[in-house]
Symmetry: C2
Subunit: 437 residues, 2 copies
């Protein structure tokens, strides 16, 4: 691993550079697939599944019997683990429910804000070697709590035309019965426009490779929302001499095994820790089944020594890591000073993988420095807030003149009229009533 000692501020931005993502090269492919799926619907979906996934799928919706047979194909111990993880995720996301906010902003002017579920959402779950049923939990559990009416799931079929039973089982456990064997750009396009088989949705969630990521970005051109822009996974560990180098090394490697473009960083005030972590990474790496992938990611990664905690915190904030592990005697200092991070793991016994699976927090987090301005997926990701106002006649008598003056100053006469006409009527009615009495 690359070791850097006391880097000067001038080189920080180079030091914290992420692998560059350039989607322009694949945009033409994405555009083409979108055009065809929009035009030909299911036929295009079938065509691309044959081309990219090398399998012929006639009806891409999973049948009831395909869903019903999944539980028997998942081991009891895994089912129990999934249930325990689900319980924690449910608790944490239920705790995020909020009440409607209502107040009288001035006499007779009642304003409130209510959150409502997004009616139709689509989840994308990658296929390939690792069946990411944990992502099904992370995306489907909050959708159910939010009360989204229609939740569909797309995932690419394997060579035999099937989805991994753990994915099907978990989806079904979370109440999803609209499951489609469709992957890649074509699945995102199908959820964007809708086909005869796959319904159109309003927002798409889920991880994916660069094609899926580019396709999700492309879908926003057609009025869809996406959970967040995505990039390769990242971990930054900030640690002092109280950290356990064996644990730190295992955490760095757990993130590195995600992909060759993953990035892991150690920022430490302890030179001894830095050296021990460096050695320990080599030892553990050698035993990993995904050693090739993890090794490539480790080669791009850095161990950075800094002189004090403040510099360490500044470096963390400048990077804005997706995952941040804090192993330090002065953890309170870091918690107070960290502003940019997706999810934070505190202490020697909180491995990052706890958040990936089971602590209860969401593992869909902002990468690529997006922690500066984006939240990870949370209950609010499935809701939108609507504001309401109701003004009484006396309320408008009070506030109306303010609106009239401002509308006039902005040159918007019709905006003013809408108030003036109402005030005239209120005044006329009052006058009439006074006349009677």
């Amino acid at each position: 691993m690359n070791k850097i000692f006391a880097p000067s501020k001038e080189i920080w931005s180079d030091l914290l550079q992420r692998p560059i993502q350039d989607f322009e090269a694949i945009e033409e492919t994405v555009r083409g697939v979108f055009l065809q799926v929009r035009r030909d619907g299911d036929a295009a979906l079938q065509r691309f599944t044959r081309e990219f996934d090398k399998v012929d799928i006639q009806d891409c919706r999973l049948s009831e019997s395909e869903i019903a047979e999944a539980p028997a194909l998942v081991s009891p111990s895994l089912k129990k683990a999934i249930q325990q993880a689900k319980d924690n995720i449910e608790k944490f996301h239920k705790a995020q429910q909020t009440e409607r906010i209502a107040l009288e902003t001035s006499p007779g002017v009642y304003c409130w804000q209510e959150k409502k579920p997004i009616e139709k959402i689509g989840l994308y779950i990658p296929g390939g070697s690792a069946p990411l049923f944990s992502s099904v939990l992370m995306l489907a559990v909050p959708a159910a709590i939010a009360g989204c009416e229609e939740v569909i799931l797309c995932s690419p079929p394997d060579a035999s035309g099937r989805l991994h039973p753990a994915i099907v089982y978990t989806a079904s456990l979370c109440g999803i019965n609209q499951i489609y064997k469709a992957g890649g750009i074509q699945a995102i396009a199908a959820m964007t426009f809708g086909t005869k088989t796959v319904p159109k949705v309003y927002k798409i969630f889920g991880p994916g490779n660069q094609f899926v990521t580019a396709a999700k970005q492309w879908a926003t051109r057609y009025g869809l929302a996406i959970d967040m822009p995505a990039g390769p996974s990242e971990l930054l560990v900030v640690a002092d001499e109280t950290a356990d180098p064996v644990f730190v090394a295992s955490d760095l490697l757990s993130q590195a095994e995600h992909g060759a473009d993953s990035q892991v960083l150690l920022v430490t005030t302890s030179e001894a820790l830095l050296e021990r972590v460096s050695l320990e990474v080599e030892v553990q790496l050698d035993k990993l089944p995904r050693k090739d992938i993890a090794g490539k990611a480790i080669a791009n990664s850095r161990l950075i020594w800094v002189k004090d905690q403040q510099t360490a915190a500044d470096l963390v904030n400048a990077y804005g890591p997706e995952h941040l592990i804090v192993c330090s005697q002065r953890e309170e200092f870091y918690l107070e000073n960290i502003r940019n991070a997706g999810s934070v793991f505190i202490g020697n016994y909180t491995p990052e993988s706890a958040g990936d699976y089971a602590s209860g927090t969401n593992h869909t987090l902002p990468t690529n420095g997006y922690a500066r301005q984006f939240s990870g997926v949370n209950l609010d990701s499935y809701l939108k807030s609507i504001t309401y106002q109701k003004i009484s006649e006396s309320g408008l008598m009070n506030l109306g003149p303010v609106i009239e003056i401002m509308a006039e100053a902005e040159g918007l006469q019709a905006h003013k009229n809408a108030v003036s006409l109402r005030l005239e009527k209120i005044r006329a009615t009052l006058k009439q009533e006074l006349g009677k009495s």
Copy 2:
């Protein structure tokens, strides 16, 4: 206005079609300006200001004296109105503050979620005929409540190289002193990359013409967030025979005067109301200073009669209006059944212009059907939430095996290792202690 009676469901999507927005044609312009501003910084900004705004600006940052002279140029009555509007907006957005959410998801597993302000944000305020100081209030007040550290404002200079004093006054009242005379695509590009004069920000807020909208969308390619995708302004009024046709007409016109591409719709269960509104619109339109603009928007707009409230509510939800006025005896029915709308105005004495200026709700709202999946600007637009977890040794003894099973099943051995190594150490320590006792 176009009158439609009892449209069948098959024609709804045509009926509710919005004016098409196609940014592809201007993307080349946007790309070019971005490239130049990125490469040449302030020099490019100056060049484009000369080209597009026809004025030469040497130093685009407003001087302290330029800011100081603004209050004297704003009338006392307008200043008072701005203050009253600000008070209401402040109250409503302060009420949206939330506490940190913390819980023990399973024994020894502590999870919490905290919101932190986005550090650097940029506000864009259009120039032109109407000085939109109300948008300054709507965007700057919640930024201050959220605690954003650096808030900057860009607005295009007029032919004499100045900004409208009401904009400068309002910005300053909201605590903004970094104000830049820069508009259009070049201002968005400057906030995206930063120049020597204009700082780079993490998120851009604010309305604008199609060039600004396309530029904001383009900025997302460079890691920035934007408040929301934007389109022309819209209003849908749903009303029965208890609505006042004079008021309804004034509301339709207040939205129509925004631009020729604005869209206004009346959905009503009362044929009598429909006919009276139609006549009244003609009468009021004729007296408006912006009659040309409003007339064009009205020509594209529709008065729709439907047979019952349920159909009316379904139509509203299918459209997802930015602004929705409900004037009906059965307002409770609508409040329960409306799912897609930006902001809702209830009753005969709640004109839409109240929300544009002073009721307290935000006027930056989702257009173009985005109310299906986006919230309007609110306090959370300036915050991001970070999750935290801290697991005790006994907590990891409990939860660790769940993580191990799931990581193994996903084929992620290093994820499992990070737990296994910790569990080994805990077990070894326990054994040692047992041995001692």
